[in-house]
Symmetry: C2
Subunit: 295 residues, 2 copies
DNA sequence: ACCCTATTATAAATTATTTTTATGTGGACT
DNA sequence: AGTCCACATAAAAATAATTTATAATAGGGT
């Protein structure tokens, strides 16, 4: 069986018109007719049915079943091409969430450069959900993912390499600045400045407010932790961030949370279980684990 | 690209010998050579390498990457064939764990017969792990699965339809027979007769003994709940089973467990997310939900 | 009722692809 | 040096896919 036939059929289920599909692929119309006939013979079933009354093409039950599988075969093949291309080019594409890229990547990059691996590395940015899809679709080889729950997906091999608590950051002028530790419930009447672009931060924060039964007063949301920290320094409000964002500023104080069963910011290295790691990629993994785990 | 080439290559990665693969497929040796050359051209990479010194065939990095994807494409195609065959034959294959088959299926079968659906249904038995693989590999369309944790797999659509506690069953002559409820920790010095063939029962039982810090005295393990119940009736020991196994015998007494956070026997209906349900299969699902959920 | 159009099917010819047959090559083993 | 093993190559043969040309079918318009 030829993959091309599956491709023709897949398009046919989308466009529902033999002639248009033929044009789409730059072939003549009988080519499509014959391809569908081949598939119908191979699977010994009718795949499509013409409805002349409504002038449309109906896909049969078995046709829809084939379409589902055809889609996933075609996707798998596309991933295969992408992966092998990257392997032959000796390139690795690494998916990085912005937080990790901002605060850790300089260190990682320095180590990789020392090993001569930086040239072969290309990064793409994105939130955890986006990067999970990018991994799945073969758009990147390895990704770092932030999460609150341990990640569990059959198609992904996941190594958690770091668990970090979330902390509260307040201005040095803030009444709480002389505290070292506190409970989240003490923050009931505070003004919050929050990180907008992190699904993980927001989920963790919502968990804590819900558990402590209060509606937080969120005065501002920003997409950049520097902006948040500057606002906190000016005492516009306080913030809630994972400690990997700790910048050691002397105008901002970090306060630990003492609550039981706090959410944790889990960072994991993930790659497809289907993916064969090259020597270079294994080296990238080692560097990531060393740099990120020990920091 | 022809699927056949992937099949040739897949076998080559297993057998590592062109001539043997040719014989395996009943073709001549150059056929395999040329197929591999086609794939190498398509993916613009070397896939295999001859090691004349050790007289063996090495698969390159990219070759192994292709092999992984080829395997999954070939499996998907096989599933497609199996599914479409069953669709055209109007058959449904239902995977049933023995416990559920023994105690619930008569009721389900009666309802299905009334609807004229029983003839088209074929069942296969097996433990939850086995049935999950059977589902994945297209050997069955729908399966009932027992578990303690909620099931979560990307390729499976899962509906939990019943949660049931585990209970203790003792003989009417047993000192505990006049109790209605008890804590698991009270069973520290009891003799147990356990169900052998259920992964789920054993996991739940182990959870409770570990939590209560004792090593149970297991005097016998059987694969059939009737045998277990007969032994319990004779007061050879007591047992631990989910309540779906309740047989309303008057020589055996069921005792509820009062422990917090008890494990639950979760029964779920599962099918591949890739699977298109036919009208008949949807009817089977409805009957299953009604019969099993309300019991 | 007739023609027109849109859409798909069919047949034969053409072109492309795959497989076979026959033979070559390189190296290990004796 | 000869032989065998394992794979490669070239040309011929066999298959398979595509195109060209044309047919079929049915709905819509007049």
């Amino acid at each position: 069986m030829n993959i091309k036939d599956l491709d023709y059929f897949h398009q046919l289920t989308l466009q529902k018109n033999f002639s248009q599909v033929a044009e789409y692929f730059g072939v003549t119309q009988p080519t499509i007719t014959l391809a569908i006939q081949r598939l119908e013979a191979e699977f010994a079933t009718k795949l499509v049915q013409r409805d002349r009354v409504h002038n449309q093409l109906l896909i049969t039950d078995t046709g829809r079943q084939l379409a589902v599988h055809a889609t996933s075969i075609l996707r798998e093949l596309q991933i295969t091409h992408q992966e092998i291309d990257r392997l032959t080019q000796q390139r690795t594409i690494l998916g990085l969430p912005p937080i990790i890229e901002n605060f850790y990547f300089p260190k990682v990059a320095a180590r990789l450069q020392a090993l001569g691996e930086l040239e072969n590395l290309q990064t793409i940015a994105g939130g955890s959900v986006h990067l999970r899809h990018a991994l799945r679709d073969g758009q990147c080889d390895i990704a770092l993912l932030g999460s609150i729950e341990p990640l569990s997906y059959q198609q992904l091999a996941v190594n958690e390499f770091d668990h970090r608590p979330f902390s509260i950051f307040v201005s040095r002028q803030h009444p709480l600045a002389n505290r070292k530790r506190l409970y989240f419930s003490e923050l009931r009447h505070e003004r919050f400045i929050l990180f907008n672009s992190s699904f993980v931060h927001n989920t963790a924060f919502n968990k804590l407010t819900r558990r402590n039964h209060f509606r937080p007063d969120v005065v501002y949301r920003a997409n950049d932790t520097h902006i948040i920290m500057n606002l906190v320094a000016e005492n516009v409000g306080i913030t809630f961030l994972t400690t990997i964002v700790d910048q050691h500023r002397d105008d901002v104080v970090r306060l630990e949370l003492m609550d039981d069963e706090q959410p944790q910011f889990i960072t994991s290295i993930a790659y497809r279980t289907n993916h064969v790691l090259t020597a270079a990629q294994r080296q990238v993994l080692t560097v990531l684990r060393q740099t990120l785990g020990s920091a």
